[in-house]
């Protein structure tokens, strides 16, 4: 089993979720995160003094799925999340040794 961790722009969440839904991936977990990368923050002025806002709001999407579904899933995510502008985000794939569905204690791929 593999885990896809995708960092995407917040307003893209709806599209990415639908894209994954279309290829039959129903389960995912989403976290609000703050990203810092080549997409620089911007400077703001408050009562005459400047300050930079460098952490930008992003969404981290985690999907655990069987190995054979990884490429299809990441392709779907890329297609939905891509705007071509800087800061579109990243996809990281890591190996998951085991997974369990708490409700039924099913293990492995069945648990997803």
């Amino acid at each position: 089993m593999k885990k896809i961790e995708a960092i995407i722009k917040p307003f893209k969440l709806e599209e990415v979720k639908d894209a994954l839904g279309e290829i039959g991936i129903e389960g995912m977990t989403v976290t609000e995160v703050k990203g810092f990368g080549r997409q620089k923050g911007h400077t703001e002025i408050y009562r005459g003094s400047e300050y930079t806002v460098d952490f930008l709001p992003k969404i981290k999407l985690e999907v655990v799925l069987p190995n054979d579904r990884v490429d299809a899933a990441s392709a779907a995510i890329i297609k939905a999340a891509k705007t071509g502008k800087i800061g579109d985000g990243k996809i990281f794939v890591t190996t998951v040794d085991d997974s369990v569905r708490i409700r039924t204690e099913e293990k492995g791929d069945k648990a997803l």
Binding site: I45, Y46, R47, G48, Y51
Partner: protein, 474 residues
């Protein structure tokens, strides 16, 4: 532990004193706690003609004094005979006087309630402009200053400030508060401190004195709340409680006595012919400048909040407001309360100038808010800044507080514009020299309080103010 026993002892004694009904000296005017004898025919302006004071022997040599005396005597006699033929009219006059005094009471009380509500406005503005993690602390400071200040004023502050006020003209003319400690320097009387009406007892236990207490107390609380804004986010709560004990008892009343309690600043006119002496209709100097200066000292002494300045005093992280809707709701509540602050200072609903005072207050707040917004937008930071909009409106309100009854609408507009620009410059100035003022209290209340006092001289148009501080002519 001793601290606790000490304080419980002190409270016990004050309460004993508070409950024991202090006696009233025989020759003093009788207080009227039940509100039954206040408001009679003598309160109807121009109705009752009183007998003129007997002339002393040498007065009698002065012909026009004699002439004046005879005229007054004749008027008094006519009045007495006529009142015999019109007993019903005279009886009615008592009720007309009572109605007039009731109107003044109601105006003073309702405007006093509005000023009390400004505490909520200050609390919201300060909490909104500070960080979320300090919101409980800032709110609690603003909350507790209200009872602390009030009790200080109740125990001795009111007596110090208005002990020697004399007759409360608009509310039944009660003159029981007649003991002012005065120094005689170079032949002129310098009023320093009042000394009557402690714990609102004896001479203080009178409906007019209570109404005055309520009105003046909420004014004192406005001064007390300003420093909690300036020095927000870095003030230990226990240290704040100690400050709370002194603001209502000593700091505010002493200066207040000098300006409003018949003290030496008010006597400058009669003593040294300096016009009407220190004129301040609703308290730009007494309330706001004093609050601003105290805020300045606290910010200076305590120093800036961590992280705002780097070593060499350049602003690295401006500390951002956590809740703009709070700030603007608070400013609206303050603008709403200010309608009680300025028009209420006439202590008389029957003084129809209240309409002009209210409109002047409104116009100055509008021009100031607009001036600040446009000045920031076009000349300073190229973007409208919500928190400065609020500071602008408050600056206008503070500046118009002193001149509000003496100027025309045009004057009020101009005072507002200048206040709006002055506040922006002074916020930037204090930031630059390293004094970290969390809400701009020093600029809004201190600097604009001063500007308010100056503006009376510049813009007064002579339509009001005759006989102010005992000096005739506007």
């Amino acid at each position: 532990m001793i601290k606790k026993f000490l304080l419980t002892a002190v409270t016990a004694i004050t309460l004993m004193a508070a409950l024991s009904p202090a006696m009233v000296h025989a020759d003093d005017p009788k207080p009227d706690p039940g509100g039954v004898t206040t408001g009679v025919a003598s309160d109807v302006p121009g109705f009752v003609v009183t007998a003129p004071a007997e002339l002393s022997d040498d007065d009698k040599k002065d012909t026009n004094k004699v002439a004046a005396y005879t005229d007054a005597k004749k008027a008094f006699d006519d009045y007495t005979t006529q009142s015999k033929t019109e007993p019903l009219a005279v009886k009615l006059a008592d009720n007309v006087g009572h109605n007039r005094v009731a109107i003044n009471f109601m105006w003073t009380l309702v405007t006093g309630f509005l000023v009390m509500f400004m505490q909520a406005g200050f609390a919201l503005v300060e909490t909104g402009l500070c960080r979320a993690k300090n919101s409980s602390h800032t709110m609690s400071m603003n909350f507790m200053i209200y009872p602390m200040g009030m009790l200080g004023f109740y125990v001795c502050g009111f007596a110090f400030m208005f002990g020697g006020l004399g007759a409360i003209g608009t509310m039944g003319g009660y003159a029981g508060l007649n003991h002012e400690i005065t120094l005689n320097i170079a032949g002129h009387p310098f009023g320093i401190l009042g000394w009557k009406g402690f714990l609102l007892q004896g001479a203080g236990y009178d409906t007019a004195a209570f109404a005055l207490f309520l009105f003046q107390m909420v004014f004192m609380d406005t001064t007390a709340t300003i420093p909690t804004g300036g020095a927000a986010e870095r003030w230990k709560f226990s240290a704040f409680m100690i400050y709370g004990c002194f603001i209502g008892t000593i700091m505010y009343p002493v200066f207040g006595n000098w300006v409003w309690g018949g003290g030496w600043l008010a006597q400058l006119g009669t003593n040294f012919g300096l016009g009407h002496g220190h004129v301040d209709f609703a308290g730009s100097s007494v309330v706001h400048m004093q609050g601003g200066v105290i805020a300045l000292i606290f910010c200076w002494l305590i120093g800036a909040r961590h992280g705002k300045y780097d070593k060499n005093g350049k602003i690295v992280h401006p500390i951002m407001p956590h809740n703009i809707p709070f700030v603007m709701l608070g400013t609206f509540i303050l603008a709403f309360g200010w309608f009680g602050f300025n028009p209420g200072s006439t202590l008389a609903g029957t003084d129809l100038r209240i309409a002009v005072v209210a409109v002047n207050t409104m116009i100055a707040s509008a021009t100031a808010a607009l001036a600040t917004t446009l000045y920031m937008w076009w000349f300073k930071t190229k973007k409208p800044d919500p928190s400065m909009m609020c500071n602008g409106m408050l600056a206008g309100l503070v500046a118009i507080t002193a001149p509000c009854a003496f100027v025309s609408a045009g004057g009020a507009a101009l005072i507002g514009i200048i206040a709006g620009i002055v506040v922006v410059e002074s916020v930037f100035f204090f930031d630059r020299i390293g004094i970290d003022d969390a809400v701009g209290a020093i600029s809004v209340h201190g600097v604009n309080g001063a500007w308010g006092c100056l503006s009376i001289g510049l813009f007064a148009d002579g339509t009001y103010g005759d006989g102010w501080n005992g000096v005739s002519g506007t």
